[in-house]
Homo-oligomer: 309 residues x 2
């Protein structure tokens, strides 16, 4: 049985303040603090590509990993370094991994970490692989129009790496996935500039996701009260607040922590999970849920070792 042993993350140190944009977008402090919830955004620097940010995340956990044993490397990104090759091959070079290491990229957005966790666990288990690295990184800085209120107040740049092996802290009990391609135009980037229909994305997050989570818990025969933490994609504070109210979850169980760096796309869940891994409090059941571009969504229940049902 494989699971998540360690998580390392990186959030770009370069910050811009959303308070500086109050005049430009005719917004006030309450809108910034309570609605979007992002007071500042992390922005990657020119020399921070997807691969370099992934390597900075890896620095945080490198002392715990024997790179000669890594036999699988997967990257979730819709912003690869280059068109060809896959960026996971570039990471393979930079980490000087063995030639028997399987590498591939997965193209997904905000649902990507949950999908990627299922994909890497399934792939490794079925192929007898033992030690894997699951990276996420989507530096949106390059595709944001700074004059677009719908996107320029939201996204921050970060990266994560999850070390997958047998001495895990959390295993994935089960997953549930969904797609509504008919609404893909709500989050769209042909080449260079991200477009987002904020109302459409909010409606999707506020209706599809609570129902999906309830259906998932019912299928898994787990009471919502038995979930100790809900680590949801940090799309905005208002989205988290709305889902919390609709599911009637206690506020302390469903954190919003992205207020100083922004929506980091596929890295938002592992950045919060890293805190849980380092916390002295041991939560037995964590539900993670990612949702966004596609429209796509995915949830999983993580269970702490020795407390698995």
């Amino acid at each position: 049985m494989l699971g998540i042993c360690e998580i390392g993350t990186y959030i770009s140190h370069n910050k811009i303040s959303n308070f500086d944009k109050k005049e430009q977008f005719e917004i006030n402090d309450i809108f910034i603090k309570e609605k979007i919830g992002f007071q500042s955004l992390s922005k990657s620097l020119d020399d921070e590509k997807t691969s370099t940010m992934c390597l900075k995340a890896f620095e945080k956990i490198k002392n715990k990993i024997d790179l000669t044993t890594i036999d699988c490397l997967v990257l979730i990104s819709q912003n690869p370094d280059v068109k060809i090759p896959h960026t996971s091959a570039i990471l393979h070079k930079e980490l000087n991994l063995s030639s028997n290491c399987a590498c591939f990229d997965i193209g997904l957005g905000c649902s990507g970490y949950v999908y990627g966790l299922s994909i890497i666990l399934s792939f490794m288990q079925n192929n007898g692989l033992r030690n894997g690295l699951l990276f996420t990184c989507d530096p949106y800085r390059k595709i944001i129009d700074n004059n677009d209120k719908n996107t320029s107040l939201l996204f921050g740049d970060g990266a994560s790496v999850s070390y997958i092996s047998k001495d895990y802290k959390y295993k994935a009990k089960s997953f549930k996935f969904g797609t509504n391609g008919s609404k893909y135009e709500n989050i769209f980037c042909e080449k260079d500039t991200l477009f987002m229909n904020g109302r459409g994305v909010f409606d999707f997050s506020a209706t599809t996701i609570p129902k999906h989570i309830l259906d998932f818990l019912e299928e898994e025969k787990i009471s919502i009260d038995n979930i100790d933490r809900f680590i949801l994609h940090q799309g905005s504070k208002y989205i988290i607040d709305t889902i919390r109210q609709r599911l009637k979850i206690d506020k302390e169980k469903i954190p919003f922590k992205a207020n100083l760096y922004g929506n980091t796309v596929s890295s938002s869940i592992p950045i919060l999970l890293e805190d849980e891994f380092q916390s002295k409090e041991c939560y037995n059941n964590i539900l993670i849920s990612g949702f966004g571009t596609g429209l796509s969504w995915a949830s999983a229940i993580l269970q702490r070792k020795n407390n698995a049902n």
Copy 2:
């Protein structure tokens, strides 16, 4: 147990002849027929995007599939329709699939079909999914410099879809994967133009791949004589001939059939496999092997139903 039930493919009807380029590149008929082996190349039209070519491949098998039952859709491509969303979500819309269908893209090149087969089979089995579609499509036309001899004589545009379910014709017995990121610059495209070091790619194909196939067969305890067909990525006729000679395989067991359409990247293996699925001859053991950008390689042994070991 899941396996491959049906394969549909599409090769762009628009053809260009390599004989017309003899003067431009100072090449002769023997070079075209015996070395690269591609007499003509299929080139996608302006209105043929990755998703539209995938849908044309799907047309070939649509009568055998109940779309309401599809719960997984995966696309292998390094040339998605747009940056965001994943092209599999666009296919989800076009095929009007159910909201419980998991969709994601995988970024890989010529090794992509073999990787993709393992990824979709593992993911579906571990998540209890039943009916999947695995697409491949990489229209390189848009990234080829027509004045570059190293690339403009080689690549053709095609697509494929493999229907994955329980009533399969072939199951995948086992897989083996490899990566050499330190040589990724041998096949490189930053944004718009493909670069290829032909000598570097040939050396890789002629040395790494035969050894990898022999190692794989030894690990699986299968004699090379017990493999009935070797369906290899159709990089060029010279690459297939060289691997055949190094492995001492009978010519009729290791076909080169891409002479009239070119190297279709991740679609080259399923295009040949389609012939095997439709053939009256029933081969029990087929070895498939893909290799290219990354540098990346992957092989699998497919076994016909009712003849599995």
